[in-house]
């Protein structure tokens, strides 16, 4: 791309996180567009090669690349440490993009040796991220809540990838003892609870107060979130791998962490000094509401009150599509405008009138995306629980339209990076100095 622009607070050039985030949005659109096409498969059992392709488009292409891109922007700002190697981070994206595309393609066509090769590429890309994160985190002097959650998350990411590699290798050489599904379930829960949950909670602790103008959270919810995940995730994963007695205590510990997180978010929303919520914050808060539904269904599965592949799929959609994805979508509506503003308009601030972040976006399209995506996720979870292919297809169409709306809103922000898309300094509404 073009020459490196200014960076924010020790963060790398905005182009680095933007490259990850734009790639992730492309994966999100692809995944949502695939839902109507895969409706017949989604109405059946979740272990289907094409559904594995869809799942990994979401978990690796959308969620993991979003988290990695955001972490390259947020970790230096939140922890006040520069990224150890930007060059490594740039190479990492290419390796991951090729590896993820390879995994999705080989899952789709059901070719396991190719899948294993692609999974090794993904593992290499993740290893690069973990090295970069470890070298950045090692100079942190005060291990507050956020660094602890980030360290926990990246440990979870490493273990998730290790389990994934074992599963891919087992497809070729059949060496795992016992049933295949316990390892698969452990892989999924390591990803959701061991990697994604701690990173969302850790980053939320620092950025939600900034965005909502709320007091920084503290007190018992902080400890319950950390220890609930630190003790609950090993319990759940060990239970799934063959010590079933640990399932209920592990699930209760994780549920306590989720409840503490919701308490925390509710307190920040209640005590915020920013009365009106923009669409980014609405996505984030609605995502938190989906955590209630996902946690309830998850507990139902852990206590054997609910069972079966349809409920399991609905649970996955409520957790990954509801809580995680809506939270990420909201954060993107905050991070991407900031990165673009910083690169294009920050150098003019203090010298001329420049737009505010809110003026870079397209609120009407963001509102459409919000309505379609929140409604689409809820509809898809319900349709999966019922197991009706036509309803799943209809929910998928809503999701696909929502994803396209979201991508349009992001494209509008990115258009400011083109000379023709910039607001003339004198015409911009707000004065930044």
């Amino acid at each position: 791309m073009s020459k490196p622009g200014p960076s924010a607070g020790g963060a790398p050039s905005p182009i680095l996180p933007l490259s990850y985030l734009v790639t992730a949005v492309a994966a999100f659109v692809l995944a949502c567009a695939a839902v109507p096409a895969l409706a017949p498969e989604l109405a059946g059992h979740y272990y289907h090669p094409r559904l594995a392709a869809l799942t990994h488009t979401v978990t690796l292409g959308w969620i993991t690349l979003s988290i990695m891109g955001a972490s390259y922007q947020l970790i230096p700002i939140v922890l006040e440490r520069r990224v150890w190697s930007e060059r490594l981070a740039r190479w990492q994206l290419w390796i991951l993009a090729v590896g993820i595309a390879g995994m999705v393609a080989h899952f789709y066509i059901g070719r396991w040796p190719g899948l294993l090769l692609a999974a090794v590429m993904v593992a290499a890309g993740v290893a690069m991220h973990l090295v970069n994160a470890a070298m950045t985190l090692r100079s942190v002097e005060r291990w507050g809540l956020t660094p602890r959650f980030i360290a926990m998350a990246f440990t979870g990411l490493g273990l998730t990838v290790l389990f994934g590699l074992l599963l891919a290798a087992d497809r070729v050489w059949k060496f795992l003892p016992g049933s295949f599904f316990p390892t698969l379930h452990a892989h999924f829960h390591l990803a959701l609870l061991g990697f994604v949950a701690p990173i969302v909670i850790g980053v939320a602790a620092r950025v939600y107060p900034m965005f909502m103008l709320a007091p920084e959270p503290s007190g018992w919810p902080e400890r319950v979130q950390f220890w609930g995940l630190a003790l609950g995730v090993p319990g759940v994963v060990t239970a799934l791998l063959g010590v079933p007695a640990l399932l209920v205590p592990g699930a209760i510990a994780v549920a306590a962490a989720a409840a503490a997180h919701l308490t925390w978010v509710a307190r920040m929303a209640r005590d915020r000094k920013r009365p009106a919520l923009d669409w980014g914050l609405r996505f984030v808060l609605t995502g938190s509401a989906f955590l209630v539904a996902a946690g309830t269904v998850g507990l139902g599965l852990a206590f054997d009150l609910l069972s079966g592949p349809r409920v399991a799929l609905a649970y996955a959609v409520l957790a990954l599509g509801g809580w995680v994805s809506l939270t990420i979508l909201g954060m993107m509506l905050k991070i991407i405008p900031f990165l673009v503003w910083y690169r294009i308009y920050s150098p003019q601030a203090g010298r001329a009138r420049v737009p505010t972040l809110a003026q870079l976006g397209w609120p009407a399209v963001e509102a459409v995306a919000y309505a379609l995506l929140t409604g689409g996720v809820a509809a898809l979870a319900a349709a999966l629980a019922v197991g009706d292919a036509r309803l799943i297809g209809a929910a998928g169409v809503i999701l696909a339209a929502g994803a396209l709306s979201f991508a349009t809103a992001v494209a509008r922000v990115l258009y400011h990076m083109a000379p023709s898309g910039r607001r003339p300094a004198a015409a911009a509404g707000a004065r930044t100095a």
Binding site: G9, R206, W341, Y342, G350, T356
Partner: protein, 114 residues
């Protein structure tokens, strides 16, 4: 700490900058995310003016605020535009830490920070 300088004005002239003029200039420096000025956000802790040299002590909404590196430059640019200002020093402090209670929540502001 770096500072911007310009040629000195005649001592005691009517060009000597006032605190009100500096505050007015700072009122134009907006937080890009919130759309509120650094004055309205309560980020300005102190302004000292001695013979055209302006010393500003301020904070940010959080130690990890993404505009940490560039906000002082915006402040300098804005205050240097005040007639009679010869130099501007900006000191960032987090003691005491900023809290949302420092926002001046006039009805007009409530609408703007949405």
């Amino acid at each position: 700490m770096s500072a911007y300088h310009r040629a000195p004005a005649i001592a005691g002239s009517s060009d000597a900058p006032t605190r009100e003029q500096v505050l007015e200039a700072l009122g134009g420096v907006l937080d890009p995310e919130l759309g509120m000025s650094v004055v309205e956000l309560g980020l300005i802790y102190g302004i000292d003016i001695v013979d055209g040299a302006v010393n500003i002590t301020m904070t940010l909404t959080a130690p990890g605020c993404p505009v940490h590196d560039v906000m002082p430059d915006w402040i300098r640019q804005a205050v240097m535009a005040v007639p009679g200002v010869l130099s501007v020093d900006v000191r960032i402090t987090f003691e005491p830490p900023w809290t949302p209670e420092r926002i001046k929540l006039s009805p007009q502001n409530r609408g703007r920070i949405g």
